[in-house]
């Protein structure tokens, strides 16, 4: 188990995540305004979104469906009865003076996400998923002394997914978020773009001495918007709290902000902590009642989820659980992988994807969908190694050229004449030359120094510029040595 060593002993971490996912839908959750990102300020806004007098909300059926789908992705209980509540507070980007949310009867109940880290695979509990509306945006630096409000985002549907305090290390928290993102992306319920704010994470952290069974006060770190930041925030917050305890202090439940520049958290100055939201059922909206038929219909039309895919990769393709979880982390990667393995050895392809391809993408700051090497071509490259057309070493060279030119591997091999030499006569001649130039080594081998054989093979490969099939070279070398 992950622990932090302190002056006074070992500490364990208790982490829970609240993730807001913007729902992929054409229109907003309670109005007919566009939910599209990136429009000019206050254009994707209706009188409903702007909280005008007499305006009433009306639920978007797509948002309901997206929540149910996501519920399945979280292995969660779909609640046939749900309804909306108002969360009352004043803020300039909240035009109605309340956020429509679901406190008492959320649409999705308990579930879990399977998370694999170095320490193995664990189920992290999900407490609930509820449907609510997003707020608008405030801009503080454009006009001195003023804040400017853009309501475009206001009223876009959100799924708030609340985990149980089940995570115990930064890696686990990071992986939970990564998995959650993979799930919503696979389902098409949220685009998961954390840098555009369509997925936002609040992190709850507390620490306790190993062996303690009760929880100490937690802090909620707001808006931690990348997997890396989540891990950093957890680590910082845990150490900060441990420091306080070890110096004889106490921690209070509070809300803090993550500062990604200085990699630290700091307390929020607002009255956030003193708020009393006065939740009550929204009388403008009716209960949402889902029939078994409706729920079943959604279930049957679900795409394959990352978890099922992972299982399939392990069981059917023989990958390790770790490799499988990496290749299923997002559907772009798994789509690429599955295209590449068509007719090829999946394990070998997996090594190429996670090895050379990931290294290349990383180095050139590209995503897998921007890869110049097409999935089919990477598969074909593995095929060329398998059927002996090129050696593994030549393949690395071909890979480099593929990345530069985007050409198919067969074309490159042809153009550059990289085909492996399998002509026995030519190889035999080459071996004969090498042996006669190294008779001293041959004598030593004869005297039992078998290791030198490898050196001879190396000489053969070098002389052929790697084009000789190494297995064949080995076999012919043995034959020749016997003849000598």
């Amino acid at each position: 188990m992950y622990t932090i060593h302190g002056k006074t002993g070992d500490w364990e971490l208790v982490i829970g995540l609240e993730v807001h996912c913007q729902i992929l839908s054409k229109s907003k959750v309670f109005s007919g305004a566009s939910a599209e990102f990136g429009a000019e300020q206050n254009t994707h806004v209706s009188f409903i979104d702007a909280g005008f007098p007499g305006m009433l909300p009306k639920v978007n059926e797509k948002c309901i469906e997206q929540c149910v789908k996501t519920g399945f992705g979280l292995n969660a209980k779909i609640n046939k009865y749900s309804r909306f509540d108002r969360k009352n507070y004043f803020y300039a980007d909240l035009p109605q003076g309340y956020q429509i949310s679901q406190l008492y009867h959320p649409i999705v109940g308990e579930g879990y996400i399977e998370v694999t880290t170095d320490e193995g695979t664990r189920r992290i509990g999900v407490e609930r998923l509820h449907l609510e509306q997003d707020a608008g945006k405030s801009i503080h630096d454009m006009v001195p002394g003023k804040s400017l409000i853009d309501l475009n985002r206001c009223g876009v549907g959100l799924m708030e997914i609340v985990s149980k305090p089940d995570m115990h290390s930064p890696a686990e928290a990071g992986e939970y978020l990564r998995q959650l993102r993979a799930i919503v992306r696979a389902l098409g319920t949220c685009d998961g773009n954390m840098d555009e704010g369509s997925m936002r994470c609040d992190v709850n952290v507390s620490v306790r001495k190993v062996g303690e069974t009760t929880l100490r006060p937690r802090t909620e770190v707001k808006n931690v918007n990348s997997v890396r930041f989540v891990m950093q925030a957890v680590e910082f917050e845990a150490n900060r709290q441990i420091d306080i305890y070890e110096n004889g202090g106490t921690c209070q439940q509070e809300t803090r902000l993550f500062d990604s520049v200085n990699v630290e958290t700091r307390p929020m100055r607002s009255k956030e902590n003193a708020n009393d939201y006065r939740y009550f059922p929204d009388p403008d909206l009716l209960p949402v009642i889902l029939t078994d038929e409706y729920i079943e219909n959604i279930r049957q039309n679900l795409p394959e989820l990352p978890e099922a895919k992972k299982k399939r990769y392990v069981e059917e393709l023989g990958l390790t659980p770790y490799d499988a979880s990496i290749l299923t982390a997002d559907h772009e990667t798994s789509d690429y992988f599955e295209t590449a393995i068509r007719g090829q050895d999946a394990k070998k392809v997996a090594n190429w994807v996670m090895g050379d391809l990931f290294a290349y993408l990383n180095k050139s700051a590209k995503t897998i969908s921007e890869s110049p090497i097409k999935a089919e071509d990477l598969g074909a490259l593995v095929g060329l190694i398998q059927d002996g057309t090129i050696s593994g070493k030549i393949a690395k060279e071909v890979f480099e050229i593929m990345a530069e030119t985007g050409k198919a591997p067969a074309v490159i091999v042809e153009e550059k004449g990289l085909k492996q030499v399998s002509d026995t006569g030519a190889i035999e001649a080459l071996i004969a030359d090498i042996l006669s130039a190294n008779m001293d080594k041959v004598a030593e081998i004869k005297a039992g120094k078998d290791k030198l054989k490898g050196w001879l093979v190396g000489q053969i490969m070098k002389a052929s510029q790697g084009k000789v099939n190494p297995a064949l070279a080995n076999q012919l070398l043995n034959k020749k040595l016997e003849e000598v």
């Binding site: 009188f47 009433l56 009306k58 108002r86 009388p283 403008d284």
Partner: protein, 493 residues
Amino acid sequence: MTELVNLHISEALDLLNKKEISSVELTKAHLSEMEKARFLNAYITETPERALADAEASDKRRANGDSLGALDGIPIANKDLYCTAGIRTTAASKMLSHFVPPYESTVTQKLKDAGTVMLGKVNTDQFAMGGSTMTSYFGVTKNPWTDEKGEYSLVPGGSSGGSAAAVSAGLCMGATGSDTGGSIRQPASFCGITGIKPTYGRCSRYGIVAFASSLDQAGPMARSVKDCALMLREMAGADGHDSTVAELPVPDFTAALTGDIRGKKIGIPKEYRPDGLNAEVARVWDKGIQLLQDAGAEIVDISLPHTKYALPVYYIVACAEASSNLSRYDGVRYTERVSGHTLDEMYENTRTDGFGPEVIRRILLGTFVLSAGFYDAYYTRAQRVRRLIYEDFKKAFETVDAIVVPAAPTPALSYEAMKNMSPVDTYLGDVFTTPSSLAGVPSLSLPVGLSNTGLPIGLQIIGKHFDENTVFQVGDVLEKAAGFNLMPHRVKG
């Protein structure tokens, strides 16, 4: 042309269709009556140009033989709680004193589509909160009925007091009202006119400035049961904008006015006759019961045991919802703004300045009953008792077709009397109307008699959910039997 302003809608439609009068004539008669009666302060905003244009268009439709709306050419007024596109809508508040909505409420749009002519926007208690129209930022409205000395010293009731006064004084033929806890029925009783709060979910709330969303209902106010039936048919019906509106067909309510209620079972709940019930009110109630019995109805004694809890339940639920509904008035996107150094200061300055004392009182009460530590004791408990009240009615309607009770505990009160009342005492004015609001059942208020000082006293006919037909049917019989066809100036004259 005083004759024209005394007509019922049904009579005027007849004359219009026979081309004996024109909508322009009818409209002008009302506009000039409005001018004469400005001292009543029934209107917040008069729209004479729009009215004349509407009337001309209507006359043209009739002349050309174009298809006509069911109320084509009828001049009406709208409570200033209904958003009207391009026409100031104030909710009788300072907060919205300059608000011009860019959209039209569903109900007023439907009335427009029915061919009505809009004369203007009438006064109300601020944000519909009150039972006297005294909380209006635009000044009190006077009841057209005078006191014993012949003075205009009486309140028209509220919150639809402007509507009731205007209908009563002949300043429009019918008006929209809205009813959250009695705001159509009580002013109708005070002003001697007829009004119905339909079943919750019969009319769309879209575009009506919200007070308490689970209770607010639009309804018509006019000078006869038939006129209300005619208007409600045009106002009601499903609306894509309001989730709470029933997707039920709207019947032709006038078809229910058969004049025959023989064998109908009319329930008389004992809880509406507490010790100390106003003797005048009791007398008119008894008279109404007798008239219905004479018409062949079967009178049944019933019990609605949780009646006395309706009023406190109502004030908790309505204020809780109001505190949230009125949060949007924050000075950011519309409304008047009173500036401040910080956002919160701006909010406080704007809201404290823009709301009157009664609105503030209700926001404070509503905020409190929803606040941490008090929510269950007040709000949840009130909602549980609300269910008991709802069940009372459900049970009663297993044995009776309609229930008849007084509309208000007294005839119209004077400003003097009301001014000195504590908030709780003023709330007691809603004692007979809030139970049916909480249950969501339809309830019609119509004048049945006069007090010994010559003031109208109304009775309520309460029906089952979505059974406005029976309510109108019984009301129509009672109206004819009571023969109440008085207008205030006739009384005075």
